[in-house]
């Protein structure tokens, strides 16, 4: 087990290095740079100003040198400074990380609370009106873009109550009500889509398990239907569901780009989009690297969780 864990952790290094190389290369291939953009609002500025600024930011150096310097900094856990604001990248990310984490947790909580019971009920009541309603509900979640639903939610709140979610984030420990008043709405919108995926996965997984011999045996032993479903069917159908839930959770850290814009939530997704649009290379590179790390790490945790959920799985 320890050997397996060590091996998986070591494998993260080439994965993250690959991500770093790709991100660096892609950002340099995309036309335009941060300096031109900084001055873009007035139409244009003289070339000499642009050149001087590029030199100051080190953008005039050869690309291999820029990459080597960045890598050397990363090894020392120095993510550099934002090219747009000149503030440390870690500071830029720190303020947003908690918001994205809370939003991801809230959405996951809502999605799980919806998906597991609905998926099981749909499977147990297969091809009845209950199943149809749940399937329509889930397909709705998949079909409706979250940002569109978000706009509708805001419009509905403003029209009905002349109220909109707060514009400024307040940490949950300072004012839980204000905090939830801002984050609950995007969490519901995102959680709905997220639950739709998980509901369908739970349904098909439970359906598959319900046809297994050991479920028939459990029923033959005279166990109640609730016990059969909860203890035997649900637990054994959780592997794919856990995979979906955890990958979605990792995605939510940086993937809520449009939803964060719509609700004006100051999270990592919004930060990434702004950074890409501003060609803030150091910030984009750091963010993508962090997202990649979260994905790889969550995957690793899920693999470990498999052993707990299914004792037949052994790590060597």
């Amino acid at each position: 087990m320890q050997r397996y864990i060590a091996g998986r952790l070591l494998l993260m290094i080439p994965t993250l290095l690959g991500v770093a190389i790709l991100t660096f290369a892609i950002m340099r291939v995309v036309p335009g740079d941060v300096v031109v953009l900084r001055y873009s609002q007035s139409g244009a500025v003289p070339q000499e100003v642009i050149d001087a600024e590029r030199e100051e930011l080190g953008l005039d150096k050869p690309l291999p040198q820029q990459f080597a310097e960045w890598m050397a900094d990363i090894v020392r856990l120095d993510f550099g400074r934002s090219l747009w604001t000149d503030r440390p990248v870690i500071e830029e990310i720190k303020g947003r990380f908690g918001i994205s984490l809370e939003l991801a947790l809230l959405a996951t909580l809502l999605a799980t609370a919806l998906a597991l019971p609905l998926g099981v009920i749909a499977a147990v009541k297969q091809d009845t009106w209950v199943d149809y309603v749940i399937r329509v509900f889930s397909i709705g979640g998949l079909a409706m873009p979250s940002f569109w639903l978000g706009i509708l939610v805001i419009l509905g709140l403003v029209v009905a109550f002349r109220w909109a979610p707060p514009l400024i984030f307040v940490p949950i420990w300072e004012d839980p009500i204000e905090n939830l008043a801002q984050l609950i709405w995007p969490a519901i919108v995102v959680g709905y889509r997220y639950s739709a995926v998980a509901t369908r996965m739970t349904r098909s997984s439970v359906l598959e398990v319900l046809r297994e011999d050991y479920v028939r045996t459990a029923r033959a032993k005279g166990l109640s239907e609730t016990l059969v479903i909860v203890r035997h069917a649900l637990r054994n159908s959780l592997l794919p569901v856990v995979t979906v839930l955890s990958l979605e959770f990792a995605f939510l850290f940086g993937g809520l780009v449009v939803t964060e814009q719509v609700f004006n939530v100051n999270g990592l997704g919004k930060l990434l989009v702004d950074a890409v649009a501003q060609r803030d290379y150091t910030l984009v590179q750091a963010l993508v690297l962090i997202f990649a790390f979260i994905f790889v790490f969550v995957n690793f945790l899920v693999d470990l969780l498999y052993g707990f959920l299914d004792p037949r799985i052994k790590y060597t």
Partner: protein
Amino acid sequence: MSALFLSTRDKWAGVTHMLRSARRRPSIALALVLSIVLAACQQGQQPVGAGSATAAPTGVAGEQPRPGGTLTYIVSAEPPTFDGHQSTTFATLMPASPHYSILYKLDPADNVSKIIPDIAAGMPQISADKLTYTVKLRTDVKFHDGTKLTSEDVLATYNKIIFPPAGVTSPRRGVYSAVESMTAPDPSNITFKLKYATGSFLAGLASPWNYIYSAAKLKADPKFYEKNIMGTGPFTFVEYVKGSHWTGKKNPDYFEKGKPYLDGYRAVFIGDAARQTAAIRSKQAMIEFRGFTPTQVSDLSRALGQELAIQEASWVCVNYISFNTTKKPFDDPRVRRALTLGIDRWSGGEALSKQTIVKGVGGLMRPGGPFAMPDAELQKIPGFYKDSAKSIADAKKLLADAGVSDLTFKFLNRNVNTPYEPVALFVINEWKKIGVTATHEVKETAAYLADLRNKNFDVGLDFNCDYFDEPDLQLAKFYSVAKPDGTAGLGAGLNLSHYNDPKLDGLIDAQGRETDPTKRKQLVWEIERYAMGEMAWQVPVIWWHRVIPHLAIVRGYRIGSNHYTSMDMASIWLADQK
């Protein structure tokens, strides 16, 4: 417009009543959602009427400013730097200007052309040869750290702007190319010595970007102000949370006694247009100072009725069509003239004003502004004829003469909807009428700017915005990109049609050195006839038009012809909210 708003308000009253019912009877919730969606769709289709709205009063006559309260306003972009001297975007001015003073400013009650002293004690004393400007400073101005402002601070500030030290960028130093030297003969006077007389120097001293900085801070670190705030303005800095908000509180030591009226302000950063509208509609924010689209205005007007005030004004902002003159056939003036002739700006301004933030037809100077060419003269220039049939016929003939009757090219644009997309689509549609096929090539801002600067385009939609009606500012992008000796011209990086025209350079220089306003105006018009009509180097499409809907409780703000000035918030106050 009133009739339109009245009828639509009635519709909204019905929807609102349904919503209240829905809270009691959830069974009609579905119908309710559909109603909201339908109502929203209807709003988008209604003519906005912004064109007929009048500038709302900034307060009721005789009303006395009421102290107190916090102004919350929307800023649609994030500041790339705190340093006004280095910035070129409103995103710096809107949140940061309340912390600073400048030498001269636009009178907030006018906000278009009347220049008044800010930290200056009066208007400058100008020598008979118009080469020396002496500015006497107020003696009661203090920085937020308690130190007294002197002429050394003003001198250090203008040295940073006009003669920046190594490693410090100053994008507008070219505006002050007439300045030979500056001196501070005593703590309350500063003198500017010019190389030649110019009619634009006072406007340069009223630049909203020229925050007065502390000489001591600049001496310790010339880049101090890129990341720190410390001025003499009406509000002191509280905090900036990137991506979220910027706050300031009243400066009790502000030199203008009785001001500011507000206890503080909060600028919230919201990029999404729908969220901006929702913020004002739900009264989370009170105003956005740049300008809303007719659809947003219409939406707010219907929802808020009398609780909303609407101000509008023409804007020193315009989209230009830039031709890549280094590429055939756009090096041929006949082709460029044909393409400007193909655009019926008069009907376009009328139609586009209903859907986006453009309206006025003008030349290189803002229509209605002090240097604007009269319509009767303007209509003699190709591309501005009232007779669109004649324009189309002339354009087709020019294209045929140039041997490109079936001209096809890519029209480069940025992925910003307002107003770029509708303006570009209008132009493309107009060109179809003269047999020209232009493909709309939309790129995100960074790629778009890179293509424009690197000559990697055929024809592009460029833009220009300024803080003042001043030919030296508006004509700066018409200078040649290179001088006859091959060195960089004044238009390098600004002139995105990438041409060289020594004759035009001479004309622009001449108007800048002309101090008689009437003669200067004639010179500017001559430039317009030559640059837009004869050569068609870069041609304006339709001038922008600002419409600001804000909560009626916001008083003391008067819309101007730009979105850069009167941002210190010193004169703004909030009326009783009941």
